[in-house]
């Protein structure tokens, strides 16, 4: 089945990305005292939880694809 064939390169790509990121060549490591900007709420991936909850629920009930950003959350019979 074509989907199964597709999966492998996707995994390989991700692995490469992860290795690239966690490895070297990303410039000098950011020091703890340089993280003032990174600590701002808008620089995190958390966001407004209730907003994200509503939005993801709407998209998952109107589109074929869902998930991707984490685990958890229940299913529904969104028709």
């Amino acid at each position: 089945m074509k989907i199964q064939v597709l999966k492998k390169p996707v995994h390989a790509l991700l692995l490469l990305l992860m290795l690239g990121l966690t490895g070297c060549s990303m410039g000098a490591a950011v020091q703890p005292w340089e993280k003032g900007t990174l600590a701002r709420p808008e620089m995190t991936f958390g966001g407004d939880k209730l907003d994200t909850g509503y939005t993801e629920h709407i998209y998952s009930s109107k589109e074929g694809a869902s998930g991707g950003s984490g685990v958890g959350g229940g299913g529904c019979g969104c028709n």
Partner: protein
């Protein structure tokens, strides 16, 4: 006079800094530290769909055999419906986060939504009304460790015909410099489905189940003082009832015809990348995201998102957003036929059960593209109170599909949503 040995000096500066940073609480906490304060948030959502139905419908011939009931399709309306008749949602959610002893946090969210309106029975035609309420309760506990977190969560969701229970566990681990975080998570979901209508094939009420196991691995990496990226790989495997029990057609002879029968297995893989960048010049922050999705239904989807958060004077923040989505159709999607597209009120189209093993005429399984335009405005009233308002407009059309077989017989679908929220810190 004693001197500092030359060869040791550069090491010395670093050694002093490293040693100083081992002292308790002399550095600002930027990592995943237990929240210092709790908060309670409330958010209201109003969502309204609209669609210009492009077929004159199935005038008179479509009447369901069941009564109007909560959670199901009810007394078949027919023909084109005005926008006001389409699905609308009013939702209320309240969440609370409580830090405990600087090492734990407990979070809980309760959501109530009421859904009412009409949705198509097949493709974008044959509108049937439904009304339902959903209650969801989420609970999660997080333990903060020196180099990571462990979160356990559970969720319970109940609709008239659908109960979902979910359990999740997620852990994160930071490298020593706290610039890289690895996450690993898993969840199981057990759904119980009791359609309020009889199976058109067997003529009996069904009790169905759906079990989903999913996992995610991710890495979050600080690239610079103003850049942070995240990659997640997710896999989900589900078995059970994926069909839509309300998508059937009752002919003039009162014989119900099934229009939706989906495979009982659905596995999907997601690959997600996110990048946040801060502009020192404007003090604004841009969020970019991309998700690739593929599943065993044959759907492949790309999702691109961009958002820009700009703080302005007096605690105000504005954040415009853009999202683009495109998917291919499911392998078993049955496109509109020439007869269906040509149907008129005088010569209505009568759907029949397709001959393939699996089939669906659900627009959501067709090839389409969609975009969202949105704007969120928030104001920090004082250090404790935050209010926000968000408006989004969404439009879906087969014309915008990047790949797949476009079904020209589908009408463009659109929706708008308004969110209003308030949050208080303690």
């Amino acid at each position: 006079m004693t001197s500092v040995p030359t060869t040791k000096s550069t090491v010395l500066g670093a050694a002093l800094l490293t040693a100083a940073m081992a002292l308790p609480s002399v550095q600002f906490a930027y990592a995943d530290a237990a929240p210092e304060r709790g908060n309670v948030s409330f958010k209201y959502l109003n969502y309204q769909e609209s669609q210009s139905v492009n077929t004159p419908g199935t005038s008179g011939s479509s009447t369901h055999t069941h009564d109007a009931i909560s959670g199901a399709t009810a007394g078949g309306s027919s023909g084109s419906a005005s926008n006001a008749d389409r699905i609308g949602v009013n939702a209320y959610a309240i969440s609370a986060l409580v830090p405990i002893a600087g090492e734990w946090s407990i979070g809980t969210t309760y959501t109530y939504d009421s859904v009412s309106g009409a949705s198509p029975t097949y493709h974008t035609s044959g509108l049937t009304h439904m009304v339902d309420h959903r209650n969801v309760i989420d609970l999660e506990a997080t333990r903060y460790l020196s180099r990571g977190t462990v979160t356990a969560g559970t969720s319970y969701s109940k609709e008239t015909d659908y109960i979902s229970r979910s359990y999740s566990l997620q852990g994160s681990y930071e490298t020593e410099d706290k610039n890289t975080t690895f996450t690993l998570g898993g969840s199981i979901t057990n759904d119980s489905i009791d359609p309020l209508v009889k199976d058109p094939i067997t003529g009996t009420f069904r009790h169905e189940k759906k079990d989903i196991t999913s996992g995610v691995v991710g890495v979050t990496r600080v690239l610079s003082k103003v850049d942070i990226v995240q990659f997640n790989l997710g896999y989900s495997s589900g078995t059970g009832y994926y069909s839509d029990p309300y998508k059937f057609y009752t002919s003039a002879t009162l014989v119900p015809v099934s229009l939706d029968n989906r495979p009982r297995d659905r596995n999907n893989t997601t690959l997600m990348g996110r990048w946040n960048h801060h502009f020192d010049g404007t003090d604004g922050t841009a969020h970019f995201s991309y998700r690739y999705y593929t599943d065993t239904f044959g759907i492949r989807a790309h999702t691109l998102g961009a958002e820009y958060v700009q703080p302005i004077e007096n605690g105000w923040t504005v954040a415009p957003l853009l999202r683009f989505y495109s998917q291919t159709e499911a392998d078993f999607y049955v496109a509109t036929s020439a007869a269906e597209r040509a149907a008129t009120t005088a010569a209505p189209f009568v759907p029949t059960t397709p001959t393939s093993t699996y089939y669906s005429m659900d627009q959501r399984l067709s090839a389409f593209g969609a975009y969202t335009l949105g704007l969120k405005v928030s104001k920090q009233l004082n250090p404790d109170w935050l209010v926000d308002l968000k408006f989004e407009y969404y439009q879906q059309s087969s014309d915008w599909a990047l790949a797949g077989t476009k079904d020209s017989g589908l009408a463009t679908f659109s929706a708008r949503s308004i969110q209003a929220g308030v949050s208080r810190q303690f």
